[in-house]
C-alpha cells in the first residue's frame, strides 16, 4: 500500500526526515508514532505529494508519488494536521465544494455520498449553520467525512481524534475499525500511544526524523519471559519459588518462568492462594521509549 525507500527531506540545513523506509501492507491499521516535531507530518505530506522529498522514493497503491498523484490521490482519503474548511459555508456545502474539485467528480451520486459520509461520522443531524460556528470536535468529524467522501481504499489520517471527547474518540475508533474490516487500509499518525495500542496492527516509530522501529504490534507486545503473580500468601510463594523471583512489590511477585500454567499449578499444589497470574508482556510504551532513546544516543 505504502512503501518508501530512503525518504529524506531537508529544509535548508535542517533534516526533517532522514532515510525513512515505511512499509504499510494492504489491510493494515498502521500506527505512525512520534513526538511532536519528529517529522511525522512532513512524512505524511510527502506521501500525499504536498511536500516534495529531497531524495528517496515513495510508492503508494503501487504507483510512484508524487509523479502519479492524479491516479493515486483520488483513491486516498486524507486528513492532514487538522481539518480545513471554508468558514462561511455549511458543512454540507464544504463537502460539495471539495467533491466538485479535481478529477473523478461524480455529480449524480454526490448528494448521496455526502449524506453517507456525514452519517458515518455522526454528523447526519447537522443543520445549515456555517462551519465557522462548529465546535472543534464537529470540525474534526467533518474533516473525516471529507476524507471518506470518495470511499477511498487508503485512509491517511493525521491525529484524527484530536479535539474529540472520550465518547467521540470511541465512535471514531469504531468507525475506522469497521472500515478496515470492510477492506480499507488505514494509516494513522498520532502521538498518543494508547490510541495506537488500541487500534493498530502494525506500528512505526519516528524519532527526530528517523524511523527507529517498525513491526507488527503483536510482536512488539510479546511476552517478556516473566510471569506476574499476585497473592496474599507472599511468604509461602517466595519460599517455593526461591531463586526464580526477580522482584517483589507488596503482594505482587515477578517470577522468571515462561510457562504460567505450570507455575500456577505448582503454587496451588502447595496451598498458595493466587489472586492473579499471567505472563508479563512488553508494553508499547517501553518499546517505544527504548527505541527512541537509543536513537538519541546515536546522534
Amino acid at each position: 500500500m505504502i512503501r518508501t525507500e530512503g525518504l529524506t527531506k531537508h529544509y535548508g540545513r535542517i533534516a526533517a526526515v532522514e532515510d525513512v523506509g515505511l512499509e504499510v501492507r494492504d489491510g493494515d491499521v498502521y500506527g505512525f508514532l512520534g513526538a511532536n516535531g519528529s517529522g511525522k507530518t512532513t512524512t505524511v505530506r510527502m506521501l500525499l505529494g504536498l511536500v516534495l522529498p529531497t531524495s528517496g522514493s515513495i510508492e503508494v497503491l503501487g504507483r510512484s508519488m508524487p509523479g502519479s498523484g492524479r491516479e493515486v490521490l483520488p483513491r486516498i482519503g486524507a486528513m492532514v494536521e487538522g481539518p480545513g474548511f471554508y468558514p462561511q459555508l455549511s458543512g454540507r456545502a464544504n463537502l460539495a465544494v471539495f467533491d466538485a474539485s479535481g478529477p473523478g467528480r461524480d455529480r449524480p451520486s454526490r448528494a448521496g455520498r455526502i449524506d453517507d459520509a456525514l452519517a458515518q461520522v455522526g454528523l447526519d443531524g447537522v443543520d445549515r449553520r456555517p462551519v465557522r460556528a462548529y465546535s472543534l470536535g464537529m470540525r474534526q468529524r467533518l474533516g473525516l467525512a471529507a476524507a471518506l467522501l470518495r470511499r477511498p481504499r487508503l485512509l491517511v489520517l493525521d491525529e484524527p481524534t484530536n479535539g474529540l471527547d472520550p465518547q467521540g474518540i470511541r465512535e471514531i475508533r469504531r468507525l475506522l475499525l469497521d472500515l478496515n474490516a470492510a477492506g480499507t487500509t488505514v494509516f494513522l499518525s498520532s502521538h498518543l500511544l494508547t490510541e495506537i495500542e488500541q487500534m493498530c496492527t502494525r506500528v512505526g516509530v519516528l524519532d527526530r526524523g528517523r524511523l527507529v522501529l517498525q513491526d507488527q504490534l503483536e510482536h512488539l507486545q510479546r511476552p517478556t519471559g516473566r510471569t506476574v503473580v499476585r497473592t496474599p500468601d507472599t511468604d509461602a510463594a517466595l519460599a517455593l519459588l526461591d531463586g526464580h523471583v526477580e522482584r517483589q512489590e507488596g503482594d505482587t511477585i515477578w517470577v522468571r518462568a515462561d510457562d504460567p500454567l505450570a507455575l500456577n499449578a505448582s503454587l496451588v499444589r502447595v496451598g498458595v492462594r493466587v489472586l492473579e497470574l499471567g505472563p508479563e508482556r512488553h508494553t508499547l510504551e517501553d518499546v517505544v521509549l527504548q527505541a527512541a532513546t537509543a536513537s538519541g544516543d546515536r546522534r
Binding site: G49, L50, G69, L73, P74, G82, Q88, L89, A100, S101
Partner: protein, 271 residues
Amino acid sequence: MIGVELRKLLWSRRTWVTILLIDALPTLVGVLLAVTDLGPRPGTGPAFLSAVLTDGTLFPLAALAIVLPLFLPIAVAVTAGEAIAGEAQQGTLRYLLVRPVGRTRLLVAKLVSVMAFVVLTVVVVAATAYVVGTLLLGSDSVSAGTTSVSGSGLSTQEMALRTLLALAYAMLCMLGVAAIALFLSTVVRSPLSAALGTMGVLATSTVLLTLDAAHLLQPYLPTRYWLAFVDLFRDPILWRDVERGVLLQVVYVVVFLGAAWANFMTKDITD
C-alpha cells in the same frame, strides 16, 4: 475547477460588498455633478468628466476612468493576493491539492476567477453609470453622434467599438496587476502581505511616474500606460501609447504568471 472557483466568487458576500463600494464612488460623483452642475473644466480632472454634463451617455466611460487608477487595482490586488495564500491560511489548500486538483489547474482557475471579478465589477460600474448618466446628467446629444475627445463627431457604432477596445485594454492592465498579486500569493504566507505587496508595487510605480529623475525607468513601470485608453477616443485614434501599454502589460503578465507557476509547482505546502 474553474466552475468551482467561479461559484466561490459569486457566493462570497465580500465580492458583492467590494463591487458595491467600488460602484459607490462614480455614483456619488454623478449625483454631485447633477446636483451642483459644476463640471471640471475641459482638460482637467478625470477623463471624460467635463463632457458628461452635456452628454450623460458618456458617464460610463468617465466612471471607469475614475475607478481604474485606484479602486479597481486595489480590489484586484486583494482578490488575487488571496488566491493561494488565502486558501493556505484557511487550511483548504492542502485539501484541494490532495483531491487532487493539479497545481497548474488551480492557478489557472484562480486567475480566471480574478478576471471574472474584474469583468463583473466593470459591468456593474458601467451599467450603474449609464443609468445615473441618462437619468441625472445632460442628454444634449440626442442626435446619433457623440463628440470625440478631439472634438469631431463619432457615430454610435464607432463609439461602441471604441468602448469595447477601451474595456479590453483596461482588463489587460488589471490582468497585469493580477499576475503580480498571484505571484506574491504563491510566495508569502498571508493574503494580506500579498495584497499589500502588490499595492506597494503600484504605489511605487505611480510615485516614480511623477519624478523626472526616474525618466529612464518610466517606460517600464506597470502603471505607465494605464490611462492610455483615453487615446482610443481621439480622432484619429492615437495608437502609440496603447500599443506600448499592451506590450508592457503582456510582458508583465508573462513574467509574473511564469514566476507564479514555477514557484507554486515546486513549493512545499507546509501550512
